[in-house]
Symmetry: C2
Subunit: 348 residues, 2 copies
């Protein structure tokens, strides 16, 4: 077997502290997966402040030509408007055509702050909506006027819809909720909704999704109900921005953003990414929760065909959580990032 | 004193069941406020299905020429795309220039489902963002492509910002959080953020807001933190869509959307509106919670100068909630809408 090449993009803040944990977890799998090569790649807001670019071409080049998959840490947001800056994670998703952001949120019963009964996955369209970043500013009669374009295409809605139906079918409950705001955005969200709902009628699908129950929710009431009765959700599929908000909302239900992993997935590449941000307030203290990054590594491995390795990592994480002894402060614990990593790798 | 004219727009579903409760509460104030005239006005999705228009010109005309203020119930959303339909509440906000949607969310300690310590107000810009409803659809190489414009102007951001600072100054904690997503929408949300933050430096403001502490949050992490530590928020100011989502999220914290009131306010008109929707699943059963509508009536009265009347209504609502005996099913009670209304009016 040839070796696996994993692009490592820690980027900013705690991204740099949690990615080594993900690497350690993968290495702990030993010879059960191919030999691994980790390629460190540059990106991030801090890199931008030094060089004027947040995502060097070389990083994208190497990801495309050499890597089998990648892990991204987290990126800081400028606290003031910075000319020329553009989020590298948004750019990566687009440049690598990672059109789906898959964010499973599941409660670990032991976690005192989490709610029991949360077991859902947010499938977020990852390339369009307001994230196309087509913005303009003009000066009108009453001052500045800024406009952004929100793009929703049939093609992107269909492929995210197909993925959502596929995932719903694989899960025990086979339930899919389509999130939109078509009572206001009748054309853009109308297109998203109709296109996703039409997936079971696509040519060649032939009854494949007959067992999937489809519901829908307006995004505002989806957030409300997510908080009030999270157990009603199984798979949620949403346009980009709603998916961004919903996955953070869901993360709050399981006790900490520091637990929630994701992958950015395309047809030919996958990049793991913890849902949390760069957390400048706690960066550099060795107290960031590495579990979201470690779980993201597992999801990434599963995606490229190493489900057994992914299972081992996930079981190790779950057992550390269930035991509840070695936890970072976001979960009410007193352990360091590195101690949690050690505890997980020991159990892999 | 001349009489007050209140436009009543029950619209759809439970809107028709809760607005009579609001009316009863106002009438219970007796002679402490001017004589009242309630003018029933047409609007809504059901009205659209009968007539082809969701908001007749006459309704807007009468509101503008005859009414001192108004109360809106709730509007149903079409479950499929309906040509020619456009939300009457969105249209009313724009046509009456009701540029601020003010949504206070406060926990009543007695409510078992609510969290203690929530006492915040969402100030939602009410006229622009994606709600300008400028949408187009074209057919490209890969199928349909839909685009919506998100408009953020300096003028609208400034006036909502001024209101937000004013409200923050009036509240004990004097804390304001500006909500945006300028890490992605650097131009539109950048303009919103910078304009709101610049309010204290406007000509003539002269240190007036020195006591207001200003913070900011990206909308996704704002929702996360709202669930995790709602007590950090006092006044939140947000562009239209984020405000829509945030106020529903906040409502979840206090036990029920059926408790959360709002006013749509402009410089010369105010319209009360419960935050909940038309709830077709429970409509017609006399079990909808009338308290959000009653509180919206109180807010409306306060806005037009009848603070004493508003206080009396609000105290009556609070006492019914604290006692916890006569509650609708959304709060775990068994009472009917009309019983809750009676209980409140008795105490006014
Ligand atoms: C950092 C930011 C651009 C990003 C997003 O909005 O997608 C983040 O919030 C996320 O969810 O991965
Ligand atoms: C009915 C709908 C158009 C409306 C909105 O999105 O503003 C509602 O959700 C609200 O919050 O008043």
């Amino acid at each position: 077997r040839r070796s696996l090449k994993i692009g490592m993009l820690p980027a900013d803040g705690i991204g740099r502290e949690v990615l080594p944990g993900a690497k350690a977890a993968i290495l702990a799998l030993g010879s059960s997966i191919p030999k691994m090569e980790f390629i460190d790649l540059l990106a991030g807001f801090e890199y931008f402040t030094k060089t004027g670019t947040a995502l060097p071409d070389e990083t994208v080049q190497i990801l495309k030509s050499e890597c089998d998959c990648a892990l991204f840490g987290a990126v800081s947001s400028p606290s003031r408007k910075v000319t020329g800056y553009s989020s590298p994670i948004v750019a990566l998703r687009k440049k690598m055509d990672l059109y789906a952001n898959i964010r499973p949120v599941k409660s670990v019963s032991i976690n005192p702050e989490g709610r029991p009964g949360v077991d859902l996955v947010v499938i977020r369209e990852n390339t369009e909506c307001l994230y196309v970043k087509q913005e303009t500013q003009t000066v009108g009669e009453h001052g500045k006027e800024a406009r952004a374009t929100r793009l929703i295409t049939e093609r992107a809605s269909r492929r995210i819809g197909e993925l959502a139906f596929k995932m719903a079918l694989e899960r025990p409950r086979k339930h899919l909720t389509v999130i939109h705001k078509s009572n206001v955005l009748s054309i853009t969200d109308g297109l998203f909704r109709e296109t996703v709902r039409a997936v079971p009628t696509l040519p060649g699908v032939d009854g494949k999704y007959d067992d999937v129950t489809v519901a829908e929710q307006l995004v505002d009431s989806a957030v409300y109900r997510l908080f009030r009765e999270p157990e009603i959700y199984d798979v949620m599929v949403a346009p980009n921005l709603y998916g961004d908000i919903l996955s953070d909302a869901a993360a709050a239900l399981v006790g900490s953003l520091g637990l929630v992993p994701s992958v950015n997935a395309g047809d030919s590449f996958v990049m793991g990414e913890p849902v949390h941000g760069s957390a400048p307030d706690i960066a550099g203290q060795n107290i960031a929760n590495p579990l979201a990054a470690i779980r993201s590594a597992a999801m990434m491995l599963r995606h490229i065909g190493y489900g057994d390795g992914a299972d081992r990592i996930e079981r190790a994480v779950d057992s550390v959580l269930r035991e509840g002894k070695v936890l970072t402060p976001d979960l009410g614990g007193k352990s360091k990032t590195s101690e949690v990593v050690d505890e997980v790798t020991k159990r892999i």
